[in-house]
Symmetry: C2
Subunit: 223 residues, 2 copies
Amino acid sequence: MVSNLTVTEENYIKAIYHLQQKGDTPTTNQVAEIVQTRAASVTEMLKKLNAKKLLNYEKYQGFTLSNEGRKIALGIVRKHRLWEFFLVEKLQFGWDEVHEVAEELEHIKSNKLVDKLDSFLNHPKFDPHGDPIPDSNGKISHQPQINLVNLALNITAEVVAVGSQSTALLELLKHKKIGIGTELLIKNKFAFDNSVEIQVKEQPPFTISHQLAQALYVKLISA
Amino acid sequence: MVSNLTVTEENYIKAIYHLQQKGDTPTTNQVAEIVQTRAASVTEMLKKLNAKKLLNYEKYQGFTLSNEGRKIALGIVRKHRLWEFFLVEKLQFGWDEVHEVAEELEHIKSNKLVDKLDSFLNHPKFDPHGDPIPDSNGKISHQPQINLVNLALNITAEVVAVGSQSTALLELLKHKKIGIGTELLIKNKFAFDNSVEIQVKEQPPFTISHQLAQALYVKLISA
DNA sequence: GTATTATTTTAGGGCATCCTAAAATTTTAT
DNA sequence: ATAAAATTTTAGGATGCCCTAAAATAATAC
């Protein structure tokens, strides 16, 4: 219960949590890719986390987080996203440059710190990328989000989240001046390459690739 | 120059820096005490830091920080004290409960973060314990400070720093309602045990031990 | 100035995490 | 349904930092 985990252990747990969030049950190789190591090292860690009952693991048969493991993952995600919010909101970081620093800050161990930070920031529900911040009980707010490729034509919507934190994506979005809160609508979809012509409020329309559209999540504007 | 150090290496450097600040040239055993390890482990690390040119070290002959080593130490101290200031000023921590958390936060690696934090806090010069915060060039402000045992009778002075961060000391100060900024004067010094009778503004006088008086630093009030 | 004591260093080994190479198992393709 | 390919696991070794015990050196006491 008091589980004092190493930074390494926390990173494995977080990786597994994120893979599970994407639907598919995670594989050894996927985890290795995320934590930047080799499959053999992952297997070793799986055994360790299994022994600590944070994972349900049968060799060759896959693994998922136990309830306890999920709680820990939610705690880490909470810290990560609160720090990101802090960095953007209070320290004036760009939303595309906070991920790496938050990767370090998320491992600071002090419940008091997290709770006080949360109060200081007025209990934000979503981080600067639009991802929900779990509350202190691990509860997550959901806002109805639609993938941009599924948005109907000529309906104005607001960007509420992005599909990944890769710097490549964030750089592109910055260049195109699209961020959380941007209002846009779809003028056209082109079957040839699935590219999408969008119009951002008050600006001339332009076309974005299918990959980029897939990385954007929007909600309808209740006008 | 880009020196990417481990948390452990940073902790050794910081320990050596603080020992040097106290005047005496540091010993292997003193460092072991501070970083909570054995002398043998310290020797090992001394060799490593020497190889990285952060230390001038000759076996059996002692060691001191090189210029590069001192720069690194100042960077860590700067981060530690800025975070302490943040915790007390913005997150409403008590000044007696921030040290441990700051021990973790000081190892977060991002110059941009430190600089932005510094701006956010309006470039504070002293941390909540009265210790000076080095600026981004490693420059340290000094305020004239007098040890309370050397303060003359009936001269009002203001507490500007405390001699250590030990929880025992901070707890005692809290109980006696003495902190940075407290104004007081000495009514009496007792030769028998070197205890000191002090009066805090508007309150009845009381006596404190020699040890406690030694742990308090004051400056005269320019009235 | 030598003997005793204290300090520092070396020697040798432990644990966590990483690695490569090989073996075991599962999945895919025909 | 079996052969080939991909994945996962085991085996064995490396590195960073820790430890204890013993050896080397320095400091102190008489």
